[in-house]
């Protein structure tokens, strides 16, 4: 398996593309260009193409421009420190850091502007696409044969009349199922979506067979939960139907066109063959994507909607209906000064601090351990590695629960220390907030180092030996070698990993929950709104507690979930776009 990421540029968007592997990026007269070779070919100079981004799409440079660029590229190859301006080179170390920082912050507004422009363009092009589709539907009806026109009402008619019976039957079947579903259930669910139900329970006479008489009983009428859920499913179904209907119209048009040009349309036999050939990706994707839509996307959209209702254990949607409340839940958590917003702020701050320390302490220490084991002259390397790797295999709930008990008030550590007379009373590892935070980070290092050791070992061994040799000749000592060669290389290669590991630490439920369950409970905001929170509580454990706790406040859980999403996505976007290692592809290739 190759270790280096091969980023692929795709020339010409759409379905068909020329795949290129970048060799180096460089700037020429203020514009960015990428030199690349067709994927899978060698880096022979004659294969080089130079591309640049035009309206978000890569375009190949041609003609005289290309010649200029080629000569620019060659001169860049010769002295590849080109990206830094002369001004930058003349600065001292502190100046360089300042220069970079200023550049970083100057870049942020431009970056946001770019993102918004991109978003605007995307929305605009979406609108244009819809308009085009509507227009196409119109013209297809106008120019189409009578068969096509019938298909507007009876889906699949066009396909059937052209002999594509499989497609036709599938279309027709889908339409029948859709109409039946909407008539029997979908419509009534949707009609209640606005109110989420009106009557929770009512008394009614129910026929009791055993007693052979009617008896007055409480029966449940509406169920907000089900109304919301099935309305959502109905909406999904409607979208799917519109898409399928559009497909049906398009296929009729294509059939008409093919027949008009005197060719034969694809037969059912061809369709069946293409399941394993042209359309194989659909075969591969259909079931997994259906699973994702039903078990991830639908539930998440459902819970996003729940954030705008008052769904909790008091309004369970069953004996007590819940309703739309607009932005009330968001107001209560973000309204500064109120108890809940204080708790949220504290927990968010600790979450970020925790993620930062958890990520970077592991990263550097793991790398350090890997370097120690890798060092020439170290014996039984395999043994050291195996000892560490073994700890990955053991499920965390076993090791962490044991470690948690190790540091209990009457756990082995405290008992031993007291016995040895080092301390008089047990150290409150989990009872003191600050101490608990430190312990959580330390134990996370214990958990994380083996992973990082594994990941970095391979990459460290991939650093070209001649880099170190030339550094030695230039007179760099071990630490300087680390600073100038190892670290930049590692950051470059594992930059994206650092981000993902930061995000996964934001959501690192296991370590916190198994060690402290979020405790010790904070006296000031530890029980605001009935939600238990403590010094080591991070957003995800808070969310879990709110969902499964006594109060089961689903609406607030949803709000917190959405806020976590916002934090994570904004962080990812910023880091991915500004992080130097994702940009400087040329330095280490």
């Amino acid at each position: 398996m190759k270790d280096k990421k091969q980023k692929i540029i795709e020339l010409g968007g759409g379905e068909e593309v020329l795949r290129l592997a970048p060799v180096m990026t460089f700037t020429y007269s203020g514009k960015k260009y990428v030199a690349c070779t067709p994927e899978g070919q060698t880096g022979d100079e004659a294969d080089l193409l130079i591309c640049y981004k035009d309206k978000g799409e890569y375009v190949q440079a041609k003609g005289e421009l290309a010649e200029e660029l080629f000569s620019a590229f060659r001169s860049r190859v010769k002295n590849s420190s080109s990206s830094a301006s002369l001004e930058y080179l003349s600065l001292n170390r502190l100046g360089k850091i300042g220069y970079k920082t200023v550049k970083f912050f100057k870049g942020i507004p431009r970056w946001f502007a770019e993102k918004f422009k991109k978003l605007g363009r995307a929305i605009a092009s979406f609108g244009v696409k819809i308009a085009e589709n509507v227009k196409d539907i119109g013209t297809t009806f106008k120019n189409g044969s009578w068969k096509t026109r019938v298909s507007y009402l009876v889906m699949g008619f066009g396909n059937l009349s052209h002999g594509q019976w499989l497609r036709g039957i599938l279309f027709l079947l889908f339409e029948i199922i859709f109409i039946v579903y909407m008539a029997l259930w979908g419509g009534s669910w949707l009609s209640q979506l606005g109110s989420l139900g009106t009557v929770a329970t009512e008394k009614a006479d129910v026929w009791i067979p055993e007693l052979e008489e009617f008896q007055e009983q409480v029966i449940h009428v509406d169920n907000s939960f089900k109304i919301l859920l099935y309305s959502l499913i109905t909406l999904f179904f409607i979208v799917a139907f519109i898409y399928t209907w559009r497909l049906n119209v398009k296929q009729c048009r294509i059939c008409d066109e093919i027949t008009a040009s005197g060719k034969k349309v694809k037969s059912t036999k061809d369709d069946l063959k293409s399941v394993l050939d042209d359309q194989f990706h659909k075969t591969l994707l259909s079931l997994p994507v259906f699973g994702i839509v039903m078990f991830t996307i639908l539930p998440i959209i459902f819970m996003i909607l729940v954030a705008f209702t008052n769904y909790d254990s008091n309004h369970n949607g069953y004996s007590n209906l819940f309703h739309w409340v607009g932005l009330d839940n968001f107001n209560s958590i973000l309204d500064f000064g109120s108890g809940l917003s204080v708790a949220f702020g504290e927990i968010l701050a600790w979450t970020l601090i925790w993620a930062f320390f958890a990520t970077f302490s592991n990263y550097f220490l793991g790398m350090f351990v890997a370097m120690m084991i890798n060092k020439k002259g170290i014996k039984i390397k395999k043994f050291w590695r195996t000892v560490l790797v073994m700890t990955i295999a053991i499920p965390q709930f076993i090791s962490l629960l044991y470690v948690s008990n190790l540091f209990e008030e009457n756990g082995i550590i405290n008992a031993t220390l007291v016995k040895w007379g080092w301390i008089n009373s047990p150290i409150p590892f989990w009872e003191n907030g600050t101490l608990a935070k430190v312990m959580v980070i330390l134990i996370n290092i214990w958990v994380g180092i083996p992973y990082l050791m594994l990941i970095t070992t391979g990459i460290l061994m991939n650093i070209p030996e001649d880099l170190y040799e030339s550094a030695k000749i230039d007179g760099a000592n071990g630490f300087q070698q680390f600073l100038k060669i190892t670290l930049p290389y590692m950051l470059f290669v594992t930059g994206p990993y650092l981000l993902t590991s930061f995000v996964s630490n934001i959501n690192n439920f296991n370590v916190i929950y198994l060690l402290t369950q979020g405790g010790p409970q904070h006296p000031a905001w530890g029980s605001v709104g009935g939600f238990v929170a403590g010094d080591t509580t991070i957003l995800i454990t808070w969310l879990f507690g709110i969902t499964t706790g006594v109060k089961a406040d689903y609406k607030m859980a949803s709000v917190i979930g959405i806020l976590i999403f916002i934090v994570v996505s904004v962080l990812s976007l910023i880091v991915f776009s500004i992080m130097p290692s994702t940009k400087r592809e040329d330095d280490f290739s």
């Binding site: 394993l276 194989f280 659909k282 351990v369 008990n405 190790l406 031993t416 930059g495």
Partner: protein, 338 residues
């Protein structure tokens, strides 16, 4: 002689008239730049006595030896710290004199009591079986799903590919616990909770597993596309390319995906506890063992928990160490690809 030569073309090549003797060349003046350099290097060499490098070399070696010794000691200490909890768990599991937390490591009375209790007094055999079945089914289905999604996204170019990837990226950023309630309600409607929770969990683990396509896609991305093209020219359908060409080349990633899928249910206690909803027959090993450590049970079952931990950890660790190579390849590739 002449007849044999008749087939040959008859060329009389006349040398160009301005060639050879008739050329005027004005030679360039002579520049003696070689000797100057030679004298300089002589002088430089004289300034450094011969012994100096030898001495430095020695001290470097001693220094190196000291550093290596220090590192060995550090590594030994580290190994001890890392292994200690596991040794501790094993020791606790053999402690017979008490069942709760104890302030010491080495048991006073050794015995298999805890293991016997684990298998007789608790539902551990059921939990273990639950987890094992979940592991097997998930390993198969999840591997198929992950490979299907990652292969399609890596090696096929189709309309909506970017959209699909973005969709999965965005929804992957929501915390998974958010869906707990809905999934529970759903599974409850189908009777797949409580004692049947393992089956509900299998559905949940497998259904969305396509989201974890990143590492496998990174692997497929490294396989040259010209293999696909060569196979297409050779007459293979896309499906034949998939199972005749690419799958045989993907053993490491298949093993990695399967291993991860199999190990997943062994470590999950959140979903498992939630879905089983207090029906301890539906627990998996993690949920069950964790349940033994709840405040009301801890004093009676702490050592039993440790015994259970050993029973769960040993087979998994052995499996893991056997397949370590694939795990390292997968996790390293994944990290580099981001």
């Amino acid at each position: 002689m002449t007849e044999e030569r008749e087939d040959f073309l008859d060329f009389d090549i006349v040398p160009e008239d301005e060639m050879a003797g008739d050329i005027d060349i004005e030679p360039a003046p002579y520049t003696p730049h070689v000797s100057a350099e030679a004298t300089v290097s002589r002088r430089e060499a004289a300034e450094f006595p011969e012994e100096a490098p030898e001495k430095r070399h020695m001290s470097q070696r001693t220094k190196n030896r000291i550093v290596n010794t220090v590192i060995h000691v550090v590594l030994a200490v580290m190994s001890f710290v890392w292994i200690l909890p596991f040794v501790g768990i094993v020791l606790e599991s053999f402690r017979c004199e008490s069942t709760g937390l104890a302030g010491y490591i080495f048991p006073k009375v050794w015995g298999f009591d805890n293991y016997i209790r684990l298998f007789t007094e608790t539902k551990f055999p059921k939990w273990f079986l639950n987890t094992f079945i979940m592991g097997l089914v998930t390993a198969v289905v999840q591997t198929v799903f992950v490979l299907a999604v990652s292969y399609a996204l890596s090696r096929h170019r189709f309309k909506g590919r970017k959209f699909l990837m973005n969709l999965m990226l965005i929804f992957g950023m929501f915390p998974g616990f958010l869906t707990l309630i809905l999934l529970y309600t759903w599974m409850n409607d189908w009777g797949l909770t409580d004692a049947n929770a393992p089956w509900g969990l299998i559905v949940i683990y497998c259904a969305s597993s396509g989201m974890g396509y990143y590492i496998a896609k990174g692997f497929f991305d490294t396989i040259s596309h010209s293999l696909d093209e060569a196979a297409r020219v050779d007459g293979a359908t896309r499906f034949q390319i998939f199972y005749k060409i690419i799958m045989p080349l993907s053993k490491p990633i298949i093993v990695y995906t399967t291993l991860m899928a199999f190990m997943g249910p062994w470590g999950d206690f959140v979903m498992a506890t939630f879905m089983a909803n207090n029906s301890s027959a539906g627990y998996n090993a993690a949920a069950g063992l964790q349940w033994l450590l709840t405040d009301s049970m801890k004093n009676d079952y702490y050592t039993t928990f440790c015994a259970g931990g050993v029973v769960v950890a040993v087979p998994i660790t052995v499996l893991f160490l056997l397949l370590q190579k694939y795990y390292v390849a997968g996790v390293t590739g994944g990290a580099v690809k981001g």
